[in-house]
Symmetry: C2
Subunit: 561 residues, 2 copies
């Protein structure tokens, strides 16, 4: 390997947050660099910091600037935080997308919906088969996670081999897909791995992770005991969980109903891709009414409290003619993602008021995580035995903890955050060499908005303060100034508008009389707006103790300019 060939790792998302995974690998030879992209994910907005935003994706300016050098996209698995912005980057990119069969169906659906060319999606055969993409060869290494056909990536260049773990857990009986294969990973490790780029999500969980298969008995025990209908929710893409729940229903003589677009869609894709081969019969919601509640299991979308999902609608009222009532059980076979607690609590409250007993995942009886815990990460480190570890998929604290863990076990590590360019050398001297443009782009309606553009921060001001709208008509006929006022989201007394208009009229008369000439045309729009803002601020500071946002519109009929 000549000295001027280098391998680069550039996270554009995922190395400063949990979610929004997007990583570039670069192969630099002389002045030329080729790239492959790994994952194209989104993250979800938060009402406090990103109100009204549909979803958040990485700033891909750097990708757009190097478009012709991006040879291919590899998607490790079908979770939104790994595949969610594929349709958006397909608005400008034209590169083949490689993934496993189930992921490919999800990818095609997304690209089609976005109007892109889904024929670029190609199904990858598993490692040791390698896919050529420019100077890269990439193999899909099957690994266990909470979605079908999740893969790590074996990434080869002239400079050496890298293993990109993808999201993973150690699960030796994962219900769906291949068990975690320690031997295969050790064999992979023995081929010599210069860098392990490794999932950090659960690095703060001290105990070994548990297998998906540990849940089945708990479900059966619960389903047997309950006299009413059971409604369970989980992530729609967790087909292993859906399967476990469905078979527990079968064992306990419960017919299966699936509610919600997301879950029905995922099961259809699971069947189409062949990852679901055996699955109990699903009955349509309308037939459920003919069956005793004791003999029903309903699987419903919306485990994160999404207000329009089946779970939330059931809690409020009904969904497709089904209602939940006293004696029934609602089961969260899921974890609440930070930020969704209040939404979930509202659903729970509604259900409990209906007399429904709500079970959450107390003590891990009804849910297991899809990510490797601290001891599992250590096992992965040992199996792969990399020259250097780069933690990925985590907030800064996760990356840091993961790096510490590696250090403790004598493995060199490097923290790389979004936008940093790391050069990885065979001799394990990985280092940050520069930074490229990075950040967050909001999908706001159908517009892409840069996080610094201010449109969202304007809405944050509106949500906290409301708005006072003043429209001024300037004429040459006395009164020279006519005001119209609208208040939105501003708490006041009924006559506040009238008083504010009176104040504006009075003060503007004074303003006019203070001018050297009493010609209104000498008063500029600038002065009118400044004066309006000052008066409105003063008014509301006294009236309300806080200042609304202000908008001033000016019409001039005084033939100024």
């Amino acid at each position: 390997m000549s000295k001027d060939k280098k391998i680069l790792f550039i996270p554009l998302g995922g190395c400063s947050e949990i979610g929004m995974n997007m990583y570039l690998y670069g192969f630099k030879s002389g002045k030329k660099t080729e790239y492959i992209m790994v994952d194209a994910g989104i993250t979800f907005p938060n009402p406090e910091y990103t109100p009204g935003v549909e979803l958040i994706m990485p700033d891909t300016t750097f990708v757009e600037d190097n478009l012709k050098d991006v040879k291919a996209i590899f998607i490790t698995h079908a979770h939104e935080d790994h595949i969610g912005c594929l349709a958006h980057i397909f608005e400008y990119i034209e590169a083949p997308v490689y993934c496993c069969k189930f992921t490919a169906l999800v990818a095609k659906e997304k690209i089609n919906r976005g109007g892109g060319d889904s024929s670029l999606v190609r199904i990858a055969s598993p490692y040791p088969k390698m896919i050529k993409a420019g100077s890269f060869s990439v193999g899909f290494f099957s690994i266990s996670h909470s979605v079908p056909e999740a893969s790590g990536l074996v990434i080869d260049t002239e400079c050496g081999r890298i293993f990109h773990s993808g999201d993973f857990k150690i699960d030796k009986s994962p219900v769906l897909g291949e068990p975690f294969n320690s031997k295969a990973l050790r064999d992979l490790g023995n081929t010599g791995i210069m860098a392990l780029i490794c999932d950090s999500t659960n690095v703060f969980s001290e105990h070994s992770g548990r297998s998906e298969s540990t849940l089945s008995d708990n479900f059966v025990k619960l389903f047997e005991k309950v006299e009413g209908m059971i409604v369970a929710t989980t992530f729609a893409s967790n087909l292993a969980r859906l399967k476990t729940l469905a078979f527990a229903a079968q064992k306990t003589n419960r017919s299966l109903v699936i509610l919600g677009r997301a879950m029905n869609n995922m099961i259809a894709l699971g069947r189409e891709s062949g990852v679901i081969k055996d699955f109990p019969e699903i009955i349509p919601p309308r037939d459920a009414k003919l069956i005793p509640r004791r003999n029903l299991l309903v699987l419903a979308s919306g485990s994160q409290g999404e207000p329009r999902a089946a779970s939330a609608q059931l809690a409020r009222d009904s969904y497709m003619g089904l209602t939940i009532q006293e004696g029934d059980i609602f089961l969260f076979s899921s974890k609440t993602i930070p930020g969704n607690e209040i939404r979930v609590a509202r659903i729970i409250d509604r259900l409990e008021r209906r007399g429904v007993e709500v079970l959450e995942d107390t003590g891990g009886r009804y849910h297991v995580s899809g990510h490797a815990n601290k001891p599992d990460l250590e096992e992965m480190h040992k199996l792969i035995n990399p020259s250097v570890l780069i933690p990925m998929h985590g907030e800064y604290r996760h990356l840091r903890e993961h790096a510490k863990l590696a250090k403790k076990n004598g493995i060199r590590s490097l923290i790389v955050t979004n936008g940093q360019v790391a050069e990885i050398h065979r001799d394990a001297n990985a280092s940050i060499i520069k930074e490229v443009p990075h950040g967050r782009i909001f999908l706001d309606g159908s517009f892409l908005v840069d996080e610094d553009e201010g449109v969202v921060s304007e809405r944050i001001k509106l949500m906290n303060n409301g708005i006072a709208i003043v429209s001024v008509l300037v004429t040459t006929i006395n009164p020279y100034f006519n005001f119209e006022v609208n208040l939105l989201g501003v708490p006041t007394t009924d006559d506040a508008k009238t008083r504010l208009i009176a104040l504006l009229e009075r003060e503007f008369e004074n303003t006019l009389s203070k001018q050297k000439t009493s010609l209104v045309s000498n008063i500029s729009n600038n002065l009118i707006e400044t004066e309006c803002r000052r008066l409105i601020n003063t008014f509301f500071k006294a009236e309300l103790g806080k200042k609304p946002q202000i908008s001033v519109c000016i019409h001039r009929e005084d033939h100024q300019d």
Copy 2:
């Protein structure tokens, strides 16, 4: 006791949520009813459902309607969710307020700040001393909680005795204040308790609660080990915790700095009331710079991620000249209240990026709860042995779980939610007899706003959609319609305003030509507004895929009407 004498329990807050505690007890004799109020608390707003609101308190219409019959207010302890709206109800009420000494200082401060008459605050001597209030006699029964001098209330009327637990935990070595006294409670129980009104906050915690005193050793071990400065945060009112932390600092040769108004204030009140007798020396922040970091413990306000508190400021930058840096430790000796996770996560992220190690309460090493867990509640039930249990302070699910727990142990119970009036009989036939006005009032700026008033829901629409502001001038000179447009929080292209104005002008010309007469004065304001809204909606649906809020102001110079 004659048959026409009855005792009533009316929660106005706290029996449908955790927070906002306010309970009325009524003594009905013939047609006359006398009331006492227990607690006057607030709850905190949430950016998704109550953006821009300062705080939330119970609707007290029922209290205002029965003002002359409210004989006294009893405050069980000084937490905001029990005392936070005292100043607000003092705007209309004039009744004595009874509480223990520490609580009294907090109460007076609040009432003074609100401009009320704080001389009505009276310090209660503990049970068996009883305070007369109309037909009621009330005794303050010392109980352990996470604030000094928390009390349960022994409430006597002719009809019998009730025990109102207040917030409590079972702590036999609480660091500050009296240990939980099983014997005294059993003796109380033996006097015959017709109803136990009992805290439900931690009813879902299966294990027995732990004592405040279990934390000291963990702190000492940690403080010894750390080479840098330690910053710890907790609830400012948890003086026992501050004391434990401060003495752990003293033992490990760390000087003590207190940052933040809330914490300094609570310590001052603790000293003034006498609940803090011994406390290590506190040094001013400016002196901290002269001391090696190894010898510093900083206690900082803001454990819930409040953006303006000392903790958040330290994470961002510095506070009173103190900065936190690599090698230092930031310790959350607290629990994150649901809804605050993202705020807290932002602080953690900022600290970790500075190289500060953040410790949370993993496994209860650095925090214990102030509420009774399930087994502790059972112990309380046994000691008091009431004829009926009414669960309080909880969401509906907590109340329900608490009622189930009582049932399991053979105790009758009744769930009473906010606004319901429960009649409690000596023979344990408690029942709901009617409902009174109840709900939530928002403090919004300095205004009190009813939750149904719509001002907050207007802001929620603004936060999600932004606003398009159109001002129309109608004249008799062609063009007959002049438009000014402002867009706030609406993502669009640069020329959207221009295009929208052009669209409005064009369409309004058409509208005019479609009228039987072409006189603009025949076009009503109503029609103008409707037409503007329709056009703006159509424009933004195509442009943006979502509709902003709309405000239309109309000036008429066409001498209509």
